[in-house]
Symmetry: C2
């Protein structure tokens, strides 16, 4: 089982590819899709879509995961973040890959065992859990955490404990 | 000069193709991209992207126009609407068509001469201005109004009166 996890943001979208091999979750690749400040919004969205499409083509994930958005600074931010989420959802759905959504609380719980964890704590735990040699950049760490939450949720769903939210 | 105007919404996106021939603005086509309530969000976004791509391929507009979003019911609505806007922006930008944004006030001004117009008034004026044989459905009327605002703004920009907002 291979998952593409995405933490959308206009200027720095985090992504992670995680795989379960012999019951152990491994990081296959992770990174950032960066868009410099001078790049117009429309070009950022196309760049995010294209890069994700490329990753899906190369790694052929079975499913994808994204965080649900509960709180944002303003409506303007929500509209922009929504557009980036749209780009991510389209990249995945166009290629027939199912995409699931997880609440931020659940993502943090998957990593540190409680819902309110500091951003630093998440990065540290991710590194330990996946045996990474370096601290992943924060946006990529968030994507890795979303991927871990996805594996946990799929296990719990298999036992009938939780219902998955498919977009 | 031919423009594709879009009024994004998950279940009923309005679109309009307008053209200026001998100084007169005409409606080439308008309609709705409907998604039934049971269709998942991800499939709706792909359907909206695909339909707009098809329209761009067929009519080859020189530019596109969309309304900026100022107020929405909730953050949840803003995130969803943002995703639909993202799909529309990507459809246009992927094909190298420039896309411009107009405030709702400016769109209404273009049609009824003032910023606070009733929805019904907009539809009635649109029908008169474009010499349509029928009342266009409300979401398509909104797209037609956005297209008219775009033509007006381009004229004003040509005279140095306004600055266009390109996405």
């Amino acid at each position: 089982m291979r998952v593409l996890a995405i933490d959308p943001s206009l200027r720095s979208t985090g992504f992670a590819l995680l795989e379960k091999v012999n019951g152990k979750i491994c990081s296959v690749e992770y990174g950032l899709i960066r868009n410099r400040p001078e790049i117009p919004v429309s070009s950022c969205l196309v760049a995010i879509l294209d890069r994700l499409a490329e990753l899906i083509h190369r790694y052929e994930p079975d499913s994808a995961a994204i965080e649900s958005t509960i709180y944002v600074q303003s409506y303007k931010t929500a509209i922009t973040l929504g557009a980036v989420r749209g780009a991510a959802i389209i990249a995945v759905a166009e290629r027939g890959v199912p995409i699931y959504e997880y609440a931020p609380r659940r993502v943090k719980q998957a990593v540190v065992g409680k819902g309110a964890a500091a951003k630093q704590q998440v990065g540290f735990m991710i590194r330990a859990m996946l045996g990474l040699r370096e601290n992943p950049p924060p946006d990529a760490a968030d994507a890795l955490a979303i991927g871990l939450a996805h594996f946990q949720a799929h296990e719990s769903a298999g036992r009938g404990v939780v219902t998955l939210v498919r977009l």
